[in-house]
Subunit: 279 residues, 2 copies
Amino acid sequence: MQSSSRGRRLDAVSGPFTPRTPRVVAARRLQRRRDREAAGRFLAEGPQAVREALARPGVVAELFGTPAALDRHAGLAADAARADVPVSEVTDEALAALAETVAPQGLVAVCRHLDVPLERALAGGPRLVAVLAEIRDPGNAGTVLRTADAAGAGAVVFAGDAVDPYNGKCVRASAGSLFHVDVVRAPDPVDVVAALRAAGLAVFATTGYGEDDLDDLADAGRLAAPTAWLFGSEAHGLPEELTAAADARVRVPLHGRAESLNLAAAAAVCLYASARAQR
Amino acid sequence: MQSSSRGRRLDAVSGPFTPRTPRVVAARRLQRRRDREAAGRFLAEGPQAVREALARPGVVAELFGTPAALDRHAGLAADAARADVPVSEVTDEALAALAETVAPQGLVAVCRHLDVPLERALAGGPRLVAVLAEIRDPGNAGTVLRTADAAGAGAVVFAGDAVDPYNGKCVRASAGSLFHVDVVRAPDPVDVVAALRAAGLAVFATTGYGEDDLDDLADAGRLAAPTAWLFGSEAHGLPEELTAAADARVRVPLHGRAESLNLAAAAAVCLYASARAQR
């Protein structure tokens, strides 16, 4: 290996990495959950995600890009090089193999897992927390992560048998928010509720059958306190032991004839109701 | 054709319809937009959509179901028969050909287009209207339609070069709400804004660069009036001529570090802010 004239590592003999180059082969394995777990690493694709990842010191382990993309995003490549992150040119074919989208925009970063223990996230005293309990759909989980970030949440907890936050679709749906908030992975959602309450947060479970209407909670001033919201899957809702453990079971009012809201919409309404009440 | 013992039409010779039965072939063509336009019909699949469609007199033109599904949902089949809607048994293969999902639950209805002119929708005096301007993603459009219904909107306008509301993915994402609210298709979004204002609605354009913060509008009492919200596509936002024509350009506050919200989340926050202010 040597540095190219543009400061990027190139294999002196064979040029940009191909789909068969061992480092590309190794990175591509991170598309599978068990390989992500084994390596403690995941992939983030596209310039926006790479920029957000580079903004977190120590997160990016390696950056791959096509020559055209590394030219187009020379600032990102320079940021990576400054942070001692290896930057490697790859062929269009290799990039396509690493990326999971049709138009990956030429950049893929190998990132180190960045979740923190729940205790650490709570030590920061977040006033708004979102808990994704047993949510298996990666697009839904990533969207709620993004919405929680926008609403000012300090932490997002993936609890129980939830999707891997490092799943490629979740990373993409989060639109960079995976790198903004404290992400927590916790195996037991009931323990999470106990820890949240011990940290002084009111814990509200969202359910279509909740006895408290969101607007009534807001009117009563109950949304102004530090709050954690529990969200379940669209198909199955929250496990009963979790709704029972919460301080309140809250329904988003349905004013029309829709039977329910989808998860992203319900989470947005609840999290923004808290954000407004807390300000 | 004759009636079976269960009151369903069966071809006396060949049994349930197959993928090659002309009526199945004709219905399947409704998966394509130009055939939907030519026929003025579309497909709705699954028991929930069929139930909602049957609740609108005159909408369902024909119901197909596997024998197992028609038994499982005998009440729906009876409702259809009572409304003089032809009910036909189809093979699993024919059902799979008609349905666009992997698990279609055995029922597909051919429905008549049900959109109404904007003037008619406005004649009902809706206090909340959602306008989807140039939104091409059918899943996003259907989700906003569902959220608008939940928030109590009386009409949803598909304006300009927006997705066909009868696109299968949009119908499914709406989760029945297509059959609940007045759906309007209008070619020119600027004309829509003019008509909305003439009808006495305040017209708010959602944009990340809006000069009015949603919370400030709420605090100022400006959300209590009858309101129409304009939503643009996630990729391109609203056309400038539309943001200029609106009464206000409104941004959803971003409290964290997310650069934006996705469309479904932003629409949910805006529509529910109106719903809360109007009550």
